[in-house]
């Protein structure tokens, strides 16, 4: 158990930053003294390390928060990604080195070649950004895939499937009535319970389904049960009311 200053010293992250992470709920120390002083564990250090990497490749703090909070975060996958990122950056730096040498070499002479060399160096400086984006996408895709695997795949004969179809069917019958009425809200409550079972803390659930409908391709790819857009819209409206009542 380390206090905040020690963590800052060990990791090079400023105290203010740690407190900021605490505030926004990104990294809260596992334990606190009765007076409210933070005490960080080894697990917290691990998490901090992850945060640092994910920041480096361009994620924003709230994105990082979502990903780390999601129950299925794979620390080992992420480490392998880090390694592979490091190796790629090494290659980039090698290219950068030769480009710089070329530029320095041709510096005395002012000509066309020089312009090209300059552009080369600049693009290499950016290829680092490109690399970051690439790994951002990689991490994101991995996570998305894991999420999608949990979405009830309507073509498979997963036991959940029938229940989801039944629930959606029930909803359809009320599509011309008030989404706030008790019948509908009961169905929605059941759906929400099912959602909680299946997705744990994930709250983006409906947004996901929505996205699927928005792009036909995705739902083809994933072989999802096709839900009519009007039903989805209705469901969305009803769900919002449900959340409003709950919160």
């Amino acid at each position: 158990m380390l206090h905040i200053h020690k963590v800052s010293e060990l990791t090079g992250v400023t105290v203010r930053t740690l407190r900021h992470y605490d505030q926004i709920g990104l990294l809260q120390s596992t334990s606190k003294t009765e007076g409210g002083h933070s005490l960080y564990s080894n697990g917290d250090l691990k998490k901090l390390q992850q945060i640092q990497f994910m920041k480096k490749i361009g994620f924003r703090l709230n994105e990082i928060k979502n990903m780390l909070n999601s129950s299925d975060w794979d620390w080992s996958d992420s480490l392998r990604n880090q390694l592979s990122y490091v190796k790629q950056e090494q290659e980039n730096l090698n290219k950068m080195e030769s480009a710089l040498r070329e530029l320095i070499h041709g510096m005395a002479i002012e000509d066309e070649n020089n312009e090209i060399a300059i552009q080369k160096v600049m693009q290499l400086a950016n290829s680092n950004k490109v690399l970051q984006q690439k790994y951002r996408r990689t991490l994101f895709k991995e996570r998305e895939l894991k999420l999608w695997k949990k979405v009830p795949n309507m073509t498979s004969d997963h036991p959940d499937t029938l229940e989801w179809i039944a629930l959606i069917g029930q909803l359809k019958r009320f599509i011309n009535e008030d989404p706030g009425c008790s019948n509908v809200q009961n169905i929605i409550r059941r759906m929400d319970e099912k959602r909680a079972e299946t997705f744990g803390g994930e709250t983006e659930f409906l947004d996901k389904l929505w996205d699927v409908r928005m792009s036909e391709k995705k739902s083809e790819q994933l072989g999802l049960y096709p839900i009519d857009q009007d039903v989805l819209e209705y469901m969305n409206a009803a769900y919002k009311i449900f959340i409003g009542k709950k919160g």
Copy 2:
């Protein structure tokens, strides 16, 4: 001559960023259309490349502006610095690679070794910051040295020296009178002309001298003519009035 979008495309810097640099006077295109559209030259691209590097090692935009504006900026020095920075970063990444491998290797086992490995990785992630700071200092020191070489070194027998001594001597005689009076202001004007000759656009001149007096060590190191602090204070006051009248 390239318009802004082309530059953005070639370099990977966003249009908005280029415009921002334009606004703050960091990088203004050498020519514009009569309608006010920017047209960037190859020199501008060079400058942009410098800016990118200096940003990468942690300078702030206004610092970069100062350094690049200063007449004695050495593009070739800076490139060599970039190269040396790149090579150091390569080494860092190598260390990072083995640290990561160590962590991944020992991941299955949860023990003390693991904690140490985590800290190692985190510190390496920061060693990048340390490196940046180092090169920031390097660049800064080089520039400071060049500035100091232009400060009239009072122990040498540079032709300027005598005139500076004379001016300061004259100023001393008025030290008990109003720093705004015409006699004093005339001396100050002459000093300012001399300053402009010697330092070009550098406006930090008096601040520099001030700093020297503040730390005895510096003035020893540089072998500057010792100016009494009260004279400096008086000079400072008179100079401020002078600037006020001028502006």
